[in-house]
Symmetry: C2
Subunit: 228 residues, 2 copies
């Protein structure tokens, strides 16, 4: 029995962690059944058993794994007969993980983080704002000022992604795999917390995101959020 | 018999095209013998048979292929019993090609393009300068001004590469493959034309570049250029 601890907002159905989305999509890719436990930032105690202060945390019988790339590697090793997450290219996919963590998600963070506090469970608001404000050195509304200019820069930063997805349907090729789920996690994070329209309709990335939203019976499309 | 047409400077041994380096390394990876023909920008006639105005152009018996990703795909298909260039991940490697073409190499271009004209064959200088100045809308020395600031930005743009190569020896994993040769081509281009020191010695990318320079009997290390 697999259980996934996922970050949630005041609405327990608002699951908005990009890292948890990676794993939700990976579990669906593998066709594995799982139950999901909504988790809030301040519930450190609830995942202390995993030796982690952050989600995703996954338990599978008596195994506990945290950190999204480690969870993906665990699932691939534990369920080798299910569709492969890496297609033999786990190492090569690391660059896409690092690009997502260091380019894509920071580019989103500085636009949408201000949209998050109103969606959080009341007990999470102070923790979230003070920890993020300490990190960025200012109030979140200041930090997210001038969105229009940042959106232009954000779209420019996606140039390599745009060219790749203009040439093939998924980052992994004809079908999606781990690299797609990782990059998609960033976009889905934004979709779950912000009304900001990230992509023009004629952007090849938009077309790819639509294909990702359609996967697994439209699982990601049904998520609580903003369908922009 | 394989022949590779490679961009050269006034010194026919100065081979400085990032795209040609990709293919030189790919041929060595496959263990294929080849002869190299030095080619200058203004020798369009010499490669007209290939339907291309640019190198690399590769001929193999009566086959002619141009464009570096197409040449790599050709070599993989034509020599399947040799070490694989893609390790099954050709599609996934496309993002690294696009990142190299749209982030890494433009970041280098705006620092080092001014170093190229003095190294060119005399008949190439006017063509090179006027075509590049038309592209960037100014003189090349103006375009490459303020290198120190650009170097800081360039190094920052390498953050994903740095993190990946801090975690594993090559982009492809334990051993190099196509993605490594593509990214390395950019660094080797700079090494062949510019004394600019791109990387600090403690940068994980520096360590990777050293490993790349050591491959195939130090082929890339022996290249005419600036060992910085």
């Amino acid at each position: 029995m697999i259980t996934l601890y996922e970050l949630a907002g005041a609405d327990a159905e608002r699951r908005f962690s990009p890292y948890c989305w990676r794993i939700r999509m990976a579990l669906l890719h593998k066709g594995l059944e799982f139950s999901s436990v909504p988790w809030r930032f301040t519930e450190k105690q609830a995942i202390a058993f995993a030796g982690s202060e952050k989600v995703p945390v996954l338990t599978d019988g008596d195994r506990t794994v945290h950190d999204s790339p480690k969870i993906a590697a665990y699932l691939e090793a534990a369920y080798p007969d299910r569709p492969s997450l890496f297609g033999g290219a786990e190492a090569l996919s690391r660059f896409l993980v690092d690009w997502t963590d260091l380019v894509l998600q920071p580019g989103l963070f500085r636009m949408v983080v201000v949209d998050i506090p109103p969606l959080l469970a009341p007990e999470d608001v102070d923790y979230f704002c003070s920890s993020r404000e300490a990190r960025v050195g200012m109030k979140l509304d200041q930090f997210c000022a001038d969105r229009e200019k940042k959106l232009v820069e954000f779209r420019a930063s996606l140039a390599p992604l745009r060219r790749t997805l203009g040439a093939q349907p998924f980052l992994h090729g004809e079908a999606p795999a781990w690299a797609d789920y990782v990059v998609f996690g960033g976009f889905q994070w934004s979709r779950c917390v912000s009304p900001l329209k990230l992509l023009e309709a004629d952007d090849p990335i938009h077309g790819w995101r639509e294909r990702m939203l359609d996967l697994f019976g439209g699982e990601a499309r049904k998520a609580v959020g903003y369908p922009v």
